[in-house]
């Protein structure tokens, strides 16, 4: 019998009961709640007259629907306002801690969980949002759930789950300068495809992953779902432990020592076996840009828009043709010749302080290129925004011509007023380039914060490494 993977350890530690039909009741240590996927769950509890199982396991925040400017005036859209108010009302009724619109800790749910120490190594973390995989960077079992499961977790502190197969994605060696966690992840998705991880729990390992700070590991785990995997994770090491230490919700004193000792066991055993192993060489990865309407439609910045004629599979070829039509692109066009009009730096993928520092480093002393009509930075949380202002990053962005906004999901999905107009092309640090994702008819190119900053300055896609020379 071989050793256990990290996933197996986390799974085994949380099984309440084996249902005997291929599923298990899995205990939930932390549920994060936001305004969009929770109202119907609370309504369900009320209709069935069921209490909340455990108040202190829940933490709520508003993020998807909130404006990123003029917040003191409230929310102009009455339907958004009702949804935000409904979360507040539900949290009051059930006694759940909520970071409201004007709380400086408010921010994107997947930024504030780790930032507060509310998500920790060894936890099971669920949230009605597919990017819950982010928290796996801490060595947690974290996955997105639907609203019925949100209600199930509120009522029972468990979710019904089938065990996943295990995949190891190992990124060997070190990436070159200017190649970020985002580029590594886009390259992974380009390699295995948007359904490559379906049915798998993914562990990311290898030298390139181990060398990443927590922010980069979160970027990687965040986009696991774009590779089809519900959860992604990274084994606990010193980087993890030092990140969690001292955060508001983290254990302290003697409890800390006990927790740390346990957390250090959260690594895959040397002889653990995975159902699938994928390897990449970090040195071969270049800055990435997506060209189509699925995150797997990605190329290196020095590449060209691919030609559907080269794709043998008929359904895939049709998908490529539709994507090119939607994106307004011609096969063979160098990525460098594509000129976005908007820049979005933000989202649960890339709105941590490290992301803002990286973008600001490129922008310092420079101005938006002609042709860039709008550029915005939306920090991941009020605390990230505050930290950036302490470091003067807000000035760098503003002097370059960027708008400096308040925290929220913003133009990653355009539920609030921040969105693309039909035909507008955007270099975005977010996670999805689906049709209409950032606004009906909008055209999204996924990039790293450094690459977004480079486009802002150059006016077209450019290898960030050239700007840094």
């Amino acid at each position: 019998m071989g050793g256990k993977t990290l996933y197996d350890k986390l799974w085994d530690a949380h099984v309440v009961r084996d249902n005997g039909d291929g599923t298990a009741l899995l205990y939930v240590d932390r549920q994060l709640v936001h305004e969009v996927t929770s109202p119907q769950a609370f309504e369900g509890l009320r209709l069935a007259d069921r209490p909340l199982w455990r108040v202190d396991a829940n933490l709520a925040v508003v993020d998807h629907n909130v404006p990123t400017t003029g917040r003191a005036n409230g929310i102009a859209d009455p339907i958004s306002a009702l949804q935000v108010d409904t979360l507040s009302r539900n949290c009051r009724e059930y006694g759940i801690t909520q970071f409201g619109l004007m709380d400086r800790r408010q921010g994107i749910v997947h930024i504030i969980g780790p930032e507060q120490g509310a998500t920790q190594p060894g936890m099971t973390v669920v949230c009605g949002d597919s990017h819950t995989s982010t928290h796996g960077a801490l060595g947690a079992l974290a996955f997105g759930i639907g609203t019925s499961e949100v209600e199930h977790a509120l009522a029972t502190q468990t979710v019904v789950q089938a065990r996943s197969r295990r995949m190891l994605i190992r990124v060997d060696g070190q990436p070159g300068p200017g190649v970020t966690a985002k580029d590594i992840m886009l390259a992974i998705i380009g390699k295995i495809g948007t359904a490559g991880g379906t049915g798998y729990a993914v562990e990311y390992g290898g030298e390139a992953i181990r060398s990443l700070p927590m922010s980069g590991r979160m970027t990687i785990c965040n986009m696991s779902i774009e590779a089809g995997a519900r959860c992604g994770m990274v084994a606990v090491d010193d980087t993890t432990i030092e990140y969690v230490r001292g955060r508001p919700y983290a254990p302290s004193d003697a409890m800390w020592d006990q927790a740390e000792a346990y957390w250090r066991t959260l690594v895959s055993d040397e002889d653990a076996e995975f159902d699938r192993v994928v390897t990449l060489d970090a040195a071969e990865i270049k800055p990435q840009v997506s060209w189509g309407t699925s995150p797997e439609m990605v190329v290196s910045v020095d590449g060209v828009v691919p030609d559907p004629a080269d794709e043998p599979d008929e359904t895939r070829r049709a998908g490529m043709q539709r994507a090119l039509e939607y994106m307004g692109l011609t096969p063979g066009t160098p990525m460098r010749d594509i000129r976005p009009e908007k820049i979005f730096i933000g989202s649960c993928t890339n709105a941590r302080i490290e992301d803002l520092r990286a973008a600001a480093r490129i922008l310092r002393g420079k101005r938006l290129a002609r042709g860039i009509r709008e550029a915005m930075v939306v920090p991941g949380s009020g605390l990230v925004k505050w930290q950036a202002e302490q470091e003067g990053l807000d000035q760098v962005f503003k002097e370059a011509g960027f708008e400096w906004r308040d925290a929220g999901c913003s133009m990653c999905l355009g539920m609030n007023p921040d969105r693309l107009s039909p035909g507008e092309r955007c270099a975005s640090t977010s996670n999805r380039n689906f049709e209409g994702r950032q606004g009906g008819g909008g055209r999204t190119h996924l990039v790293s914060p450094e690459m977004a900053a480079a486009v802002a300055v150059a006016g077209h896609f450019v290898d960030v490494r050239e700007l840094e020379q």
């Binding site: 009961r17 291929g22 199982w53 009605g128 995997a229 254990p251 689906f434 209409g436």
Partner: protein
């Protein structure tokens, strides 16, 4: 939840792979705090020529007549036939709510995204996987024969074509049981409340820091 055993219905062919949940129900409709009423906005950006708004009356909006669900022959479809990785992206359960509200009870594809697959079966929709070659032949039959119907028998785990060809499909026993009986999963879980409490009691000793009350700092 309404039990799902046998569904006989018209098949609508949606010939795209990687259909994401943003396409199934665009973001602006996620502002609703209800579970119902999403049907008119199913595939909104593909179905209409204008941009839909929540709460809008869709009956006089300009239709995109090229979109498959707008063709008269598929108006009463109860089975959606589609391609690989259907339902990828966001975890929004509004996607199955919209599909159910439109009238779909069965989805047939070579594969589905994980979260979407789970969400469907909690809303009385059967997501059913068949091999790509079978799906391809069903597409061809649907295109060629107006009013093409299939009969799906969940207890028997079969799909039967009008000419009597029968395909078996796999489904995990838990999901099948919940769908066939139309069970309330929370009610079923709460029958094991004692086991949940016993787990908590055990874990308090092993990972006590997970059980100290969360205080807002």
């Amino acid at each position: 939840m309404e039990p799902l055993t046998r569904v006989e219905g018209v098949v609508a062919p949606l010939d795209r792979s990687n259909v994401d949940t943003d396409a199934i129900i665009p973001k602006q409709f996620l502002k609703s705090i209800h579970r119902t009423g999403f049907g008119p906005n199913l595939f909104d950006e593909w179905r209409y020529r204008d941009e839909g708004q929540p709460g809008q009356d869709c009956s006089d909006r300009p239709l995109n007549h090229d979109f498959v669900l707008n063709q008269p022959r598929y108006q009463d479809a109860r089975i959606l036939l589609t391609r690989t990785n259907f339902g990828c992206g966001s975890s929004r359960e509004h996607a199955p709510w919209a599909l159910a509200d439109f009238g779909f009870r069965v989805l047939i594809a070579p594969s589905f995204a994980d979260i979407f697959y789970n969400n469907c079966s909690k809303n009385g929709i059967l997501p059913l996987t068949l091999p790509e070659e079978t799906v391809q032949s069903l597409f061809e039959a649907t295109w060629e024969q107006p009013g093409y119907t299939l009969t799906v028998d969940l207890p028997a785990q079969t799909v039967t074509t009008p000419d009597g060809t029968r395909y078996g499909f796999e489904i995990d026993p838990h999901r099948k049981h919940m769908l066939v009986e139309g069970l309330d999963e929370i009610g079923v879980t709460l029958e094991h409340a004692d086991e949940i409490r016993a787990y908590e009691q055990r874990q308090r000793a092993v990972t006590p820091w997970l059980f100290s009350d969360v205080e807002a700092s």
